[in-house]
Symmetry: C2
Subunit: 294 residues, 2 copies
């Protein structure tokens, strides 16, 4: 399917996901001109050196001027400030989308700040590696992954269609969802796993030095898989936990109960309970392999 | 370095690791004759079909007769019974080694059962995939991984040397360690990560059906990495937790404290604490990459 075409695209923030999308827009010729804004001069220099944008600026309002599509790809804590900065500068009828991992936030903080003519399509491409920064992006990162859009009720159908086709051009399977439901699902599949990985790696960093070096040495026995996840961008993840607090705390509560039950089974030598759980969890892995997400 | 040569090798249990070692012995011509014993007829048939052994039996005592090297590669809960069964049948001076993930157990349960002439070299090749059974083995699984031996104080140096060279022939880096220390290190690097992975995947299996199918769909966002670990052999892992109880409960206690602190930071919106931890955990990943264990 042919992708859409945007005369002028503005990126607010252009790290791992933003730069991957910029590369995709270039590859599929979906953008006339690309403007990128970022806070740090170093990022802007990198973006120009890599040819990811035609022009760069440290001012979001300047970036969005005359843009047909605005992509917000910054940590969630910046959304309010960005909304305030770009609102007066947006071209009437412009499409504004984002790539953030919490979607109720967009409804809560971003949409109220923007003029009524702006067509907001909140989005979350569920893709990426543990790397960050504009150099780490690549357009194939979206291939065969899911993209969740959480369209505004009564929102513009043409804008939703264009954003959908943009992600589809990157090989994504696009689905729509209610923002609160998105945040619940992602709390389980993404936010809790990251929280647990950060915790276990943190526990290891607090060990005495000799033991720590041995943990690194023998990390291939399980620990290693957690360190990859726990190497993800610190600010991005801080913001995810702060902005999806209720859903994360709710699923964490369930996890804690289950862990306590396992702990008790180990203490009292209840092998049958352990074996039952360990057998049950195998089935989920098979489902993931069947769903071609392994 | 040339591997050792054993006229007759007996495997007690021949699953993922046992069959990988049998393949390695064949490839490197380190064994004259290989005898394998297993409980299930199906396993024995598979072993013969794959040519992993020259003869099979369901009786451990029959298997070890005249063997120069006996490799115990069964779940830990079978060690006592196996020790009792093979003790009267072992050839005087035979080397007995194992591949189990808890090493103090060998000192506690296996060694006391065997005649004084038997040269025991407890071992743990820290390698393997989440798959199980004799068909899943391959000799390259040991390449560039660590093998930890926990030699008996005052034990036979020649036996230690032969077992060391056998694993080195598979590309392993062999180190020796005190059994209790081994169990502490592995509780952190392997047993806790598996326990956490089993828990989080278990938490997901308890979700209502619609939500569960969405968790599978969007598993690539972090959850997926845990399901691979949580697909490991249920009986093997039940036995690890039951037999390394103290070390696992101790490290789990630390993990719980750290998780509670994170939970509290999320509840009270303490972003600086989250960011500090998430930055610290990145360093461990770099160390693992530098140690070439990534």
């Amino acid at each position: 399917m042919a992708g859409p075409y945007f005369e002028r695209v503005a990126f607010i923030g252009i790290g791992h996901i933003g730069s991957s999308l910029a590369r995709l827009l270039r590859r599929e010729k979906m953008a006339g001109t690309i403007i990128a804004s970022a806070r740090r001069k170093e990022t802007l220099d990198t973006v120009m050196r890599l040819g990811l944008a035609d022009a760069v600026t440290d001012d979001p309002a300047t970036a969005v001027k005359d843009a047909d599509l605005v992509v917000i790809a910054t940590p969630l804590s910046t959304y309010r400030e960005i909304g305030q900065a770009i609102a007066p500068a947006l071209k009437p009828g412009a499409i504004v989308t984002d790539v953030g991992s919490v979607k109720s936030l967009v409804v809560r903080e971003l949409i109220p700040l923007l003029p009524a003519s702006i067509r907001v399509v909140p989005g979350h491409p569920v893709a990426g590696t543990e790397n960050s920064g504009p150099e780490s992006g690549f357009p194939e990162v979206f291939q065969n992954r899911w993209c969740i859009l959480t369209p505004v009720p009564g929102g513009d159908a043409a804008a939703l269609d264009q954003v959908t086709r943009m992600w589809q051009a990157g090989g994504m399977n696009v689905v729509t969802m209610d923002p609160e439901h998105h945040d619940t699902v992602l709390a389980i599949t993404s936010h809790l796993p990251h929280l647990i990985a950060y915790t276990i790696v943190g526990t290891a960093t607090d060990l005495e030095e000799t033991l720590k070096s041995e943990v690194i040495k023998f990390s291939a026995s399980g620990f290693r898989d957690f360190t990859r996840i726990a190497a993800s961008d610190p600010v991005m993840w801080r913001d995810i936990f702060l902005n999806n607090r209720e859903a994360v705390l709710a699923v964490l509560q369930r996890f804690n109960e289950d862990l306590t039950a396992l702990q008790r089974a180990i203490r009292w030598g209840e092998g049958d309970k352990l074996q039952e759980l360990f057998t049950r969890t195998r089935a989920i892995r098979r489902s993931i392999i069947e769903a071609k997400q392994a």
